[in-house]
């Protein structure tokens, strides 16, 4: 545990990738495999099931510190992180010493062991740890307890460290870290096995992710070297069809079996193959994402829903065919195979994502203008002679999205952020004008620069009308331009409208509130583009 706490401190104290990488390699080299397995699990962003809710922890904290609930709450809002708040408030004048025991023992006994206890026993255990642990270890303990630990290490960096330590290709390590795994010593040791074994046949390959195209597309060279497809707005998925079963994985590596029965049924007559694609709500054409959300939100799928919102798997790529890894073959070969495999299936729930053909870039750009009517987000551009890579690698796959919709909205409420935005007002509720009133239209958390955030924070603190717990209502004076990807009717919002992926595009310091958009204007957008 102490070694992991030291690693954590080292990672936390630097912004340099090389220093982080060296620290990770040293830790993985020296730690017992069972500890290293847990470290991989945690640092790669896996979450353990939360054992004790944050409200319960705050209640215990108030009791243990003899502070009133409101002051614990204020302090938490100020610090912006519950695990850290606990470690700060529980720090006493007493000397506390380094922590004994391995990380694995700690997690399996001190954390997961809580499962077997009733609430009173859980509380006694947790409080004893809070009183005994030095601050950094107490912070880590609480992070594990609340199920999330972020320390500025990406999964890619963990993969690089492991690949470097084992002198193996990173792609192989990436494959072994994907999907579900148990953090055991055996798992960690098997990561470095030079033999490719297929015992985890239902496991997905790492997804290849596209980068946004920033310049003009003609900088990419001859259009004939590229495959253009629509950028579909559904759920990116990997479909694994094998003789002994079918698996569906999301891009976030969640298993999705059972959620889309029509796709699994259609996969039954595929040859043994692994496909990359998109799950879309579709009747005769793609349905708005709001329909797809109905499918995502339900745990059990009723017949009515299956009838009203059927889905299909629109295939982009072939990663494996008849047990051969096709990822290193050029896209044009993979595409030819995909067409051969799927061409004769007609209106089946597994289809091919059609190519968008144009003679030159200007004509393709014209087609892209149809995106909003076609309910797609723009175009994808894929280099025809490129392999299927892992992760977000620039150069071969570009997303050429259409410009987002924007409105000018008024800042109405603000709330402090968390993590590195703790103690800064960064979570905004934005409104549009409706006569003399303001109607909230969206919440947005990102898009301003650090300098702008500081400046707006300063303004917020001096222009607060009322405080409701952590939330401040503000004088309606600041106009922020918000960009969003889609607009839908929503009975759950007061405005009757929901925006998809709202974020702040610009702080319109030049614009008076009287020139901000009105609810009427937003409703016009809904009529034009709302699904």
């Amino acid at each position: 545990m102490q070694a992991f706490a030291d690693l954590y401190a080292e990672l936390d104290a630097t912004t340099r990738t090389q220093v982080k990488l060296d620290a990770l390699i040293a830790y993985f080299r020296d730690a017992p495999p069972a500890d290293a397995a847990w470290a991989v699990y945690i640092l790669a962003g896996r979450r353990m099931k939360r054992l004790i809710g944050p409200l319960k922890l705050r209640e215990w904290l108030a009791e243990a510190t003899a502070l009133p609930d409101w002051l614990v709450e204020e302090t938490y809002q100020h610090v912006g992180d519950l695990a850290e708040t606990i470690s700060l408030l529980m720090e006493g004048d007493d000397q506390r010493h380094a922590v004994d025991g391995d990380l694995a023992e700690w997690i399996e006994q001190a954390i997961l062991g809580l499962r077997k206890l009733d609430e009173a026993e859980q509380k006694a255990h947790v409080l004893a740890h809070w009183r005994r642990l030095p601050r950094p270890a107490c912070f880590l303990y609480n992070k594990l307890l609340t199920g999330s630990l972020r320390v500025g290490v990406s999964r890619g960096l963990v993969e690089r460290a492991l690949a470097s330590l084992g002198d193996l290709p990173r792609a192989l390590i990436a494959r072994r870290l994907i999907g579900e795994f148990e953090p055991t010593a055996a798992f960690f040791t098997a990561l470095f096995d030079p033999e490719q074994r297929e015992e985890r046949e239902g496991q997905p390959y790492p997804f290849f992710l596209a980068s946004p195209l920033e310049g003009e597309p003609d900088t990419l060279g001859d259009l004939r070297e590229w495959l253009a497809e629509w950028k579909w707005d559904g759920i990116r998925a990997q479909l694994i069809a094998r003789p002994n079963g079918t698996w569906l994985w999301s891009r976030g590596e969640e298993p999705m079996n059972g959620r889309f029965p029509e796709v699994e049924a259609a996969a039954a007559d595929l040859p043994e193959v692994v496909l990359d694609g998109e799950i879309l709500a579709w009747d005769t054409q793609v349905l708005p994402f709001s329909q797809m959300q109905r499918r995502i939100q339900r745990k059990t799928l009723g017949e009515k829903l299956l009838r009203e919102v059927p889905v299909i798997f629109l295939a982009y790529d072939v990663l494996e065919y008849q047990q051969a890894d096709w990822r290193e073959r050029p896209l044009h070969e993979r595409r030819a195979l995909l067409e051969k495999l799927l061409a004769k299936r007609g209106d089946n729930a597994i289809r091919i994502s059609p190519a968008v053909n144009a003679a030159d870039w200007p004509l393709l750009a014209e087609l892209r203008e149809e995106s909003r009517e076609r309910m797609v987000e723009g175009l994808m551009l894929k280099r025809l002679d490129s392999p299927y890579r892992s992760g977000r690698v620039r150069g071969d796959w570009w997303k050429w999205k259409i410009e987002p919709l924007t409105i000018d909205a008024v800042l109405l409420y603000a709330q402090p952020g968390h993590g590195r935005r703790a103690n800064l007002y960064t979570d905004y509720t934005l409104a549009v004008r409706d006569g003399e009133a303001y109607v909230p239209i969206a919440k947005a958390y990102s898009g301003l620069t650090d300098q702008e955030i500081q400046k707006l924070d300063h303004w917020i603190r001096r222009n607060t009308v009322e405080k409701f717990g952590p939330v401040r209502s503000l004088k309606p004076e600041q106009v922020l331009e918000i960009a969003f990807e889609g607009i839908q009717p929503s009975p759950r919002h007061k405005s009757g409208i929901a925006l998809r992926f709202p974020r702040i595009a610009r702080w319109r310091q030049d614009k008076p509130v009287a020139e901000a958009d009105t609810l009427e204007q937003v409703k016009e957008l809904l009529n034009l583009y709302g699904g």
Partner: protein
């Protein structure tokens, strides 16, 4: 009910019975200055009263004005009041202002203060009073400073552990920088290099007899000097400025009470945060309120509202927040 001895006005805290202001932010006739930080000491007043160690610093920062230096505990009459200054332990020459009315009431304005050890200034003195006007910069229970020796050790570990890189430590130029120089003298006698904004202030501390590490202005070195393994002190405003360019591959740190919160440290992007503050932490605020025996507490700066609510609801102390213009988030 008697009129309050000290009231907030547009000019700043004002004592009607003695006709003087304390740390006023607009020009007044008589200004009693608790210490020489910019949000407390401004130019343009006709008469200045301050602790005598504070006077050279005030003169350096504000130019020449009619300053009257007082010793700690020295009494001076203003109208129907007797005024005296008492050590606040914040920076060199920092003072609490004790105002005793002829009718027997005693009020104390704490100014900024701390109760932790600091070899660069006199320790905080507990001044019994009826009403205490206290700062509340760090008035949340998450603020509890580690022992200064521990922070000094962390700074030395960082400096001595980076023999191949310049270590640039950002601190406020007045008070904190000198405290760092004194704390590090327990570990080494090496020379520390100073940003121009700190040179004169550090000399004023030396003139006052404060023992610190030897220093040299960065500007006296040839620009080609890479400063590997050296410690450089600079004000936070130098972070990210062209001045930093000469320190290739520098490791950076910031010494401030705000560094106790991880989010603050990460947001500012420093490699190291050192929890070193010249303000009272939560336990020190509560201890001071208890020790001085005040029946009424008025608060200024920072987390005033939270301290007031806690004092009223949990400790049963009569407390209220005063509105002041002390910027006060600097530490």
């Amino acid at each position: 009910m008697q009129d309050p001895l000290i009231i907030p006005t547009d000019e700043g805290l004002y004592c009607p019975a003695g006709d003087f202001h304390i740390d006023p932010w607009r020009p007044v006739h008589t200004a009693v200055i608790t210490h020489a930080h910019a949000d407390h000491a401004r130019s343009g007043h006709l008469h200045y009263y301050a602790q005598h160690q504070s006077v050279p610093i005030l003169r350096h920062r504000l130019g020449d004005h009619p300053f009257t230096g007082l010793a700690y505990g020295e009494q001076i009459r203003f109208g129907r009041t007797t005024l005296s200054l008492h050590s606040a332990g914040h920076v060199l020459g920092s003072a609490q202002v004790r105002v005793a009315h002829d009718d027997g009431r005693v009020w104390v304005v704490s100014g900024d203060y701390k109760r932790d050890a600091d070899p660069t200034c006199e320790p905080f003195e507990v001044v019994p009073c009826d009403t205490l006007i206290t700062e509340a910069t760090f008035a949340l229970p998450c603020y509890r400073w580690p022992p200064v020796q521990q922070v000094g050790q962390q700074m030395w570990d960082w400096w001595s552990g980076n023999p191949d890189r310049p270590c640039v430590l950002f601190t406020y130029a007045f008070g904190k920088a000198q405290r760092v120089l004194a704390a590090l003298a327990e570990h080494t006698d090496r020379t520390v290099y100073l940003h121009g904004a700190m040179v004169a202030l550090t000399e004023l501390y030396r003139d006052a007899g404060i023992a610190m590490l030897p220093t040299q202005p960065v500007s006296e070195l040839p620009r080609t000097e890479g400063m590997r393994g050296q410690l450089i002190l600079a004000p936070p405003s130098a972070a990210g400025s062209p001045w930093m360019r000469r320190f290739k591959n520098a490791s950076t740190g910031f010494a401030s009470g705000w560094m106790r919160i991880r989010g603050n440290r990460r947001r500012r992007g420093y490699d190291q945060g050192f929890e070193l503050s010249d303000h009272a932490d939560w336990p020190a605020l509560l201890a001071t309120i208890r020790d001085c025996g005040a029946s009424t507490v008025l608060t200024t700066h920072g987390r005033s509202d939270d301290l007031v609510r806690y004092l009223r609801e949990s400790l049963g102390v009569d407390a209220r927040a005063l509105t002041t213009l002390y910027g006060g988030e600097d530490d």
